[in-house]
Symmetry: C6
């Protein structure tokens, strides 16, 4: 992965920060399984399994903690 | 998802902050499975499974950490 | 849920803070499954399953982190 | 639970802090299942299941974060 | 493991920090199972299991919190 | 457990801190299951199960957050 996909943790709004947290969560998967075809094949069973959806939301929540702290919670 | 659903992490009270944590947890699911019909179909088995309910409460707890920190724990 | 159940994260003692963390954990469940009859029906299988009990304790631990930070760890 | 079991998060040493984290983890279980007989019955299957042991260690780790922060990591 | 594999938590960019988080996550596995042949044998079933991929991404997210905090979120 | 196994959270390097996090994770298991024979019997099935290895790495990651914070991330 030579491309730059994470130049900064700073975002303009909380919502963009949440979307960055989703990107981080997906990248965490892609580093382990870089084959996009495999990921696409796994998606249907994944997206229809409530336990999997909650687990995904948990990873996003953890990454959002990081992004939100980086942005001082967009307080200013 | 072009709409704005997260303009701020600041809330007036801890309880509103907890409810925002619930919104964040649900959004984490919806970004992975945006099809509302699928989510509705999953709901009954989900809401009757104690492990799933505890897992959901855990995601809320993680997001509440973020919201509470953003609000300086509503100390003032 | 129009009632006020979380007016503050501040408690007099660590133990009250731990009990507030338990309240937060249960509320996280109730927002997903508000039907008290269903929750009561789930309770016996839940309370006799060691994995479920550990998972519950984990959610309490996460919420206790939040409450403890809010109270500056009751240091003073 | 009218007794006082958590008067403070402050401990003299990191090791006592770790042991307090274990107490917190067990209390998180006991609030959900206060029947000591049930807990004793669950123990053998619990203590011989590696996934359960790892899950228990995880709850201890989370509670230890709280206790360690409360004690400023026993730095001084 | 006498070799030095973690001289510092400081990285030049967030992306390098994320990659360090992946290294930390893999090292966490290797300390428990140092036999590289076993790890290679486990990999195919692992990399094709969506729950395993999400769990891996969660460990990366937790380690990334540490690395990001160490680097003051690369704010400067 | 009368012996002293955790005199301090301070380590000279990040790598020693990571190894301390592994010690903490194992101690979290041993407090629940002190019988070393049982732990040895569980080890083979444990060390060959990818989900168990990831779960172990997650506990290490959580404990490493604590150790890294205690050491101010070995920043300088």
């Amino acid at each position: 992965m030579a491309d730059t996909w994470l130049p900064s943790l700073i975002t303009a709004t909380p919502q963009e920060g949440f979307e960055l947290a989703i990107t981080l969560s997906r990248r965490g998967v892609k580093y382990t399984q870089p084959d996009v075809d495999v990921l696409h094949k796994l998606r249907p069973e994944y997206a229809n399994d409530h336990a999997a959806l909650t687990a995904a939301s948990q990873v996003v929540a953890i990454n959002f903690q990081t992004v939100a702290a980086a942005n001082n919670y967009w307080r200013g």
